[in-house]
Symmetry: C2
Subunit: 346 residues, 2 copies
Amino acid sequence: MPNVRLRDVAERAGVSVRTVSNVVNDFAHVAPATRERVHRAIDELGYRPNFAARQLRQGRTGVISLVVAEIDSPYFAELASVVVRVAESRGWDVHIDQTDGDPDRERRMLSGPLGQQVDGVIFSPWALAPAELTQRAPSTPLVVLGERQAHGQVDHVAVDNVAAAHAATAHLIDSGRQHIVAVGLQPHLSNETALLRQRGYHRALAAAGRSPDPRREIAVERLHRSDGAQAVARLLQDGTTFDSLFCFTDQLALGAIRALADQGLKVPDDVAVVGFDDIEDGRYAVPSLSTVAPDKRQIAEVALQLLEHRIQDPAAPVVDFVAAHELLIRQSSSPVTINPRDAGVS
Amino acid sequence: MPNVRLRDVAERAGVSVRTVSNVVNDFAHVAPATRERVHRAIDELGYRPNFAARQLRQGRTGVISLVVAEIDSPYFAELASVVVRVAESRGWDVHIDQTDGDPDRERRMLSGPLGQQVDGVIFSPWALAPAELTQRAPSTPLVVLGERQAHGQVDHVAVDNVAAAHAATAHLIDSGRQHIVAVGLQPHLSNETALLRQRGYHRALAAAGRSPDPRREIAVERLHRSDGAQAVARLLQDGTTFDSLFCFTDQLALGAIRALADQGLKVPDDVAVVGFDDIEDGRYAVPSLSTVAPDKRQIAEVALQLLEHRIQDPAAPVVDFVAAHELLIRQSSSPVTINPRDAGVS
DNA sequence: TTCCTAGTTTGCAACGTTGCAATACTGTCT
DNA sequence: AGACAGTATTGCAACGTTGCAAACTAGGAA
């Protein structure tokens, strides 16, 4: 009998439907005896409030959703995990939705059925243009993670990608690396995050009086480990000289390290590698991976706070929050003590 | 104006509410002219069907959910990703929900609001006892992944853990390893999966005429990399001799490899390592990780098929499906060609 | 012309819940 | 005794949709 209704409980307890509703919702003025009787009827019948009816009536669900492109990408998985925990602690239930970077599905998450099942959405866009995000004004409250936003149009949380990439590159320069390759451009996606990291990389080079070299800026299709491995393969094949890699994600970096190992190149001795994201794999990789660590906890907390704010007051001014990050230097880019030669590869 | 209703569209198009509903639902007998007019009104007003009302009326949502303990565990993340893609291709939308292994939250996913927002649940239980799963008969259609089930009470998909663990252990024996340590028991959780893998390990030992040794069976708190690293630390500290590890998950194995590297032990030369799950990290790790690969695609497809079946016919007989697996031998356990000594560690 | 059929459109009711506001009850105070 | 305050309980309507079955239209067959 999945269909026990308020009405059935009411009949059984000998009270009105409304009284049962009052009991269920902990309304103040219910006589203890009545409350007791209703509770017993509820237990006996196994009553469960119908969620759809409730939502229809009051227009709220108590659920928010987190929309990401790929849940099997460790950065998103780890971030999702934190978001769920933070939200849980504040009384929200959380759905995670995966779009595979498909624009249709991204759209659907915002305005389709799934967007309607929730009171708000934390969204890490991939394919959807900023314009689309903002013109859907009438829809669900929204907070955007990562770059790719229409500045000042939607609440937004991200690290300072330029500064972070600058720091990572500067660290390689300071450790005496001469030929630093940037891995992770995505010209085909007009991926704003990649552009910002590239800019930070350029600025660090410029600050050291070096000029960028197109051969040392590698584009990738996606951001998986295989793309990082391919990037290294291409470098070696083209005969480009390099002694260090700044990879725009840890996954790229781990794939690159793997490819380097296959070629007998040592990390960090021959090639230093720095990634971005601080995923767990990197901490336990051999060698452990230097990386830029965004403060995931802060990102999750602020995103949720902004979303709650937005739900409460849809007209509040838009917030653009810059989350903290930290450069973690581990083995993959530690200064080489013995034989610190300028290990080139032709 | 988020509140455009069927009624508003009807007024604008000069037809009845019912006709608009017919158009929205692609009912056959609607005059082309009318349909056209209604569509225009819909576009002009930006009408979106109210999902809650629809669900209330027809009792279906078109959404299923996948409930896992930890979405940041790569195995679950990868599996989730596949499930979402398969479901998507069959016209379902999918929510992913994370419980952190909290029994309350696991329960809530099944019978609480979230359970009601969906037509069915694919559930990878952690803390919830089998009994609880089955006694909630009146609730959402359910398919259980992984072991820990009440056999024959709920539809269920899992690999043959005993056979898989047997194969992994036998492989180590066949490559000449003498002291094989099993890492990943979880006595505190009565984790059935771990028990089955332990059984397979025992049987392989027995088949080779060896007897199990409690010192070579390491319990862990959780299944993270850090637990694998700790297990190795404990072995070394206790002075237990070993030349190979069979880790019950890839994460444990990767943590173990990391700890071995820190101690200057070479994999596979000094210690061979085999994991379980075939997560992407293992494929790109240095050295690449040998592992038991469950057929995730098959698991996802069968689980979904069973769920659809169950939704359609709640009274159908219960199915227990054994998914395929494969032992993938990579670098971490490849027979050592040069100097294949029995590298012991005291 | 009338009847019938197929095509088109519609009104009514109901899904299960809660907001609103009215009513009934109890006891206290004047 | 009557008025009043507060507590307890209730009926009605509405949230936005779709199932049902009736009603209306036109066109062709009898």
